[in-house]
């Protein structure tokens, strides 16, 4: 063995030891962390759920019909929504009973407020009856902000549907808003 080979062998062993030590000097393990976010479908009427009153105007001249200029826009529709993927939600309105001879309607205004995300779009004027109708649609992951001034302002109006079925009395109905999957 010449001098060059002796020199190489002498350094090979410590080098191998060093390399093996480096290889053994690090090891890893892992865990998959999953975060599950629930579906959220919450809606509410603000500033409160107290009743509103709409009335008809008595004609001042015999032969004229009852009229209605009664409107109410004191209520706001708030909601929070989280959906899966590209799904969308809507909010429907319906009443627990129909009022004979009267047309009760609601219009949700365009969204305004301190919320964020993909808020819904108003579907314009909707008659309120025992049949559910969508007032706001296209709701995705969003929140409107809480309280009056946030969300969609609700404009209620009352009109004459059929004079022949009107009665001189008061009606009280419950209006129900429901967030549904579209």
């Amino acid at each position: 063995m010449n001098r060059y080979n002796k020199f190489s062998c002498a350094w090979m062993l410590p080098l191998l030891i060093f390399v093996s030590q480096v290889i053994h000097a690090q090891q890893s393990c892992n865990t998959t962390v999953s975060i599950n976010f629930p579906q959220i479908s919450l809606c509410d009427i603000e500033p409160n759920r107290n009743s509103i009153n709409l009335s008809l105007t008595t004609p001042v001249e015999a032969g004229l019909p009852l009229t209605s200029s009664s409107v109410n826009n004191s209520k706001w529709l708030n909601y929070t929504c989280a959906v899966a993927g590209s799904s969308t939600n809507a909010i429907t309105v319906q009443s627990n009973s129909n009022i004979s001879g009267l047309n009760l309607q609601v219009t949700a205004s365009a969204y305004t407020g301190i919320g964020a995300g993909t808020n819904g779009i108003s579907n314009g004027v909707q008659p309120i009856s025992t049949t559910a109708r969508s007032v706001v649609s296209g709701i995705r992951n969003c929140y409107t902000g809480n309280g009056a001034g946030n969300g969609h302002q609700l404009n209620y109006s009352l009109g004459i549907g059929n004079h022949s079925t009107l009665h001189s009395t008061s009606y009280s109905i419950t209006i129900i808003y429901t967030m549904i999957s579209q």
Binding site: A10, I17, T31, V33, S34, I35
Partner: protein, 158 residues
């Protein structure tokens, strides 16, 4: 003369390595997956986002097992590799148990996509290390469903 010097050098190296031969450093974790379930009850009022900015659930906390040499300290680093993740979301980790022989890692630190120092085990004195994860900066804007990331712990000799 030169050969003798080489032999002396090899003997010195062997004597340094000898106490650690036959041993390795290891790290493992008892849970291959960890689930955090954000509750819908964290939203108490329609119109609001989640009312807390951080969520942790240690009902089933993972435990790291680290072993190594009696005469050497070990450093544990942590990083993540995203699977299905949102850049707005932060995941943090900390050790949950107070113990002598281990330093660092007791306060939540954000896990990034590159290795960061987590804690040091002093001379193999502690092997069983419970940890906890926390998720931060979440919102209903994240939508619903599962987001997941792979968290990797690496032990190395100091």
């Amino acid at each position: 003369m030169r050969n003798k010097l080489h032999i002396i050098w090899i003997v010195c190296l062997l004597s340094v390595q000898w106490p650690t031969w036959g041993q390795t450093i290891t790290i493992s974790i008892n849970l291959s997956s960890t689930q955090l379930n954000v509750s819908s009850s964290l939203i108490t009022e329609a119109g609001n986002d989640y009312q807390i900015s951080a969520y942790e659930d240690c009902s089933v906390c993972p435990v790291l097992f680290v072993s190594g040499y009696a005469n050497k300290d070990m450093r544990v680093d942590v990083r993540k590799s995203d699977m299905i993740w949102s850049s707005s979301l932060a995941i943090l980790v900390r050790r949950t148990a107070i113990a002598t022989g281990i330093t660092g890692g007791t306060t939540f630190q954000t896990i990034t996509n590159s290795d960061q120092y987590f804690f040091t085990v002093v001379k193999n004195t502690v092997n069983w290390i419970p940890i906890a994860f926390r998720v931060q900066n979440f919102s209903v804007l994240n939508g619903s469903g599962n987001l997941s990331t792979n968290v990797i712990f690496t032990v190395s000799l100091l």
